[in-house]
Symmetry: C2
Subunit: 250 residues, 2 copies
């Protein structure tokens, strides 16, 4: 192990700060786009649609991304505390995303539009169901006390891979939605470099950058959360005996 | 190390076979979409545009994805041979993608359309430039004999991360392009579940699945190519002396 439980890799805080700057900028630019070019946000009329992109970006992009970073940021806190924070961020993301989903289905219903006909809709509903399944699996394996040590160790790599994959799919789905919103409104005017088109393209690139930076932080092997001393000791001595909390870094 | 140089992880061949089935299906469905609904392919008139999606899918998705899998598939061959195959697949991908790019710029020019105004265009040109830079960096560090052992070891994780990131961005860019092509042609008819819309949505999901399966194969730590015995020996004995080929698994 390169870093003890007490040391923080030198570059990590800068990358985390940069990811937060990018994430907040994404949320702000989404708000600016909806405010400047789409008439703002309300739970009635055509403005109800605008709740959808804002909630999905806050929930499925920003909060979901931050939930993945929790184990890199909170390195010295007890594993259990960090886990609960990870779970709570995902609950917040899920609730906000649900509001965003209700907004678009309700808007479609009132306007008599079809649901889930586009690639954005197909990807979106798939990703949301996967996210829900991932949340329930994560809860039952890691927060619910019943799962055994060996079950947890076998499921952990799958949870980490599909967590990252679902996050990346969320970013991709957001790009498809943004593109759809642009093309429906601008049509061929999109090719005349309208200010709205340029702002939305910038928002798309910011979304991509947020996704890449979060993935970069997750992918650095020596930025992973170190095992705590007491967890390591447990791991060495009781690996095959205990069925308790998992000792390995996450 | 869990696997010796001679053993292949039991599940790996099935995942690789599945990835190839998906990749070939993606290419076939792209061809079917262009043939059935877009009049086929030619280097003249409006059919010239159709060269673009087909070439980009073959080059930037299928061949690029396969180039990333080379180190997982060829586990017993000499490191040098595997490297050259990795480089050659990327050269083929690059040339085919270039043909696809020339097709769309030439088509835009003949029709008097603007270039690079959309999010698809912005993402696409960014990804292509990153891919070119990645290729040149990879060539100078790993195939050109000048780079030192320590330089190679430090660059390797970056090369692997950005290789995967560029591949995923290519998949995302393809989805955006597909969506653009659909919305420009179908417009509001997209919401009536036109056969072309459904076929293209299926193609989009297949592209996503190919991306996820390739990423899954790359992400499994114990599916990585094992160090060859002679490379390991070199690594142990001459690590600080030699400036030759890199001994660690890739």
């Amino acid at each position: 192990m390169e870093h003890g439980a007490s040391s923080v890799p030198a570059a990590l805080p800068y990358y985390v700060a940069f990811s937060q700057l990018l994430g907040l900028t994404v949320v702000a630019v989404t708000g600016a786009w909806l405010g400047l070019y789409r008439g703002g946000i309300a739970w009635e009329g055509s403005l109800q649609f605008n709740v959808h992109p804002l909630c999905m970006v806050i929930g499925m992009i920003f909060l979901q991304g931050d939930a993945l970073l929790v184990y890199r940021v909170f390195r010295k806190e007890a594993k259990r505390t960090t886990k609960i924070l990870h779970g709570l961020l995902h609950v917040a993301a899920l609730i906000i995303a649900l509001v965003g989903l209700v907004a678009v289905f309700d808007y479609h219903k009132k306007k008599g539009y079809a649901d889930l006909y586009s690639l954005h809709g197909w990807c979106g509903i798939t990703v949301f169901i996967l996210y829900l399944v991932q949340w329930l699996m994560g809860f039952s394996f890691f927060l619910f006390p019943g799962a055994s040590f060996s079950l947890r160790s076998r499921y952990r790599p799958q949870h980490i891979f599909f967590g990252a994959a679902i996050f990346l799919l969320s970013v991709g789905t957001a790009l498809l939605g943004l593109k759809e919103a642009l093309l429906f409104k601008l049509g061929t005017k999109y090719s005349t470099f309208e200010p709205e088109g340029i702002l939305a393209n910038v928002l798309g690139l910011l979304l991509v950058c947020f996704g890449v930076v979060v993935l970069y932080i997750l992918a650095q092997a020596d930025w992973k959360r170190p095992s705590q001393a007491e967890e390591q000791a447990l791991s060495m001595d009781f690996k095959t005996l205990t069925e308790g909390d998992s000792p390995s870094p996450q």
